[in-house]
Symmetry: C2
Subunit: 192 residues, 2 copies
DNA sequence: CTTACATCATAACAGTTGTTATGCTTCAAA
DNA sequence: TTTGAAGCATAACAACTGTTATGATGTAAG
């Protein structure tokens, strides 16, 4: 097992503690205990606590971005966009844990301008991806020509964010089927 | 100045610290300093830190619920629902601070089941209010008869939540006008 | 075998946390 | 005037925090 693998193990331990205990109760010692080791391991693979936490979050973000790209492949038209959006939703229990980390981090970022700026970059990236998808659909005349695509991309982001927080707080209210319906309904309204 | 007024002042000081510094950096001493007093004041008016934080959040929630009820008065039909939703949006800078507190609290609640349950109750209340509005609209045949109203109420909650987080993270992407457009677009799709 | 480095444990550091106890005012009731 | 409580300041408490230094172990290269 190489360096990067071990480093990832530490991050995943941190990730589990965040989901179970909350971000502010995720201390170096708690992470080490979750890992079954001492804090020496944690400090060995990460300079700061900040570096560790940011790395753990980046794993979650990259994971869902990868899922979105994977779902996009082989799909076309409206269905392609719909599948991409679905890939970002907390449809499974595992996805729900990802969203817990994400929301914990959003709250943690309030009052921390540096973290807010990092989130902005993430949102910019997602917005750019969705914009491109919408632009392709508009060229193919599959969605209305009068749509402000940047605005609609933001609408999609807000939709996913809203469903994500809804699932984390009230899991019973948002089944996978209902999540898909909400996305389908939203995208359907864009069609030409 | 009575007891309750002073108590509210303490909560508002905590509220300002949360917005500026973040929830996990909102210590008893930071609140006291923001208030221009000592920690003795804080402990005098609140048993726990938890009691203080929960009280501060409740103020925010009650404030926006009151705004929603006020906006509902004198309005009718689809416009009534639209105004109520708009009352919960972060259209002004002041509202944005409310949303910062809200989102900070959402993240803080991850891994704290008691807080999650309290949020569920809040969402249940809002869902009930929106359900009633939708039911009235459905009886008046102003929205489609085949809609699952509970699902649509959840959709409205998700929409507002998504816009709220979007504004907090990327204020430039969600102007008041654009927020209103997104709500209008969503509600318009429900019409009969 | 020796050297050097990666991996990890342990311990100590100074700082911060929430909580509690104590004492000092001020002011109204008896 | 005495009594008592409200309002508030101060200080101390143990517990916890992130960080750092030091030492022990294994293991691969020379």
């Amino acid at each position: 097992m190489g360096y990067d693998d071990r480093r990832l193990e530490v991050a995943q331990a941190a990730w589990r503690v965040i989901v179970r205990e909350g971000l502010d109760r995720t201390s170096m010692r708690a992470i080490a205990q979750e890992l079954g080791s001492s804090t020496g391991v944690v400090t060995h693979y990460f300079r700061d606590k900040e570096e560790l936490i940011l790395f753990a979050l980046e794993q979650v973000v990259e994971s869902t971005l990868e899922s979105m790209r994977a779902c996009a492949k082989g799909q076309q038209g409206i269905n392609r966009l719909e599948q991409m959006i679905a890939a970002a939703l907390p449809l499974t229990d595992s996805d729900r844990d990802d969203w817990k980390v994400w929301i914990a981090f959003l709250g943690y970022s309030i009052g921390r301008d540096r973290l807010i700026q990092q989130h902005q970059k993430r949102y910019d990236l997602i917005r750019q991806i969705l914009y491109q998808e919408l632009a392709d659909l508009q060229v193919a005349k599959l969605i209305r020509a009068d749509l402000d695509l940047t605005l609609e991309a933001n609408a999609l982001i807000a939709l996913v964010d809203g469903i994500g927080t809804g699932v984390v707080i009230c899991p019973d209210q948002f089944s996978a089927q209902q999540q898909r319906y909400l996305v389908h309904q939203h995208i359907h309204a864009l069609q030409a």
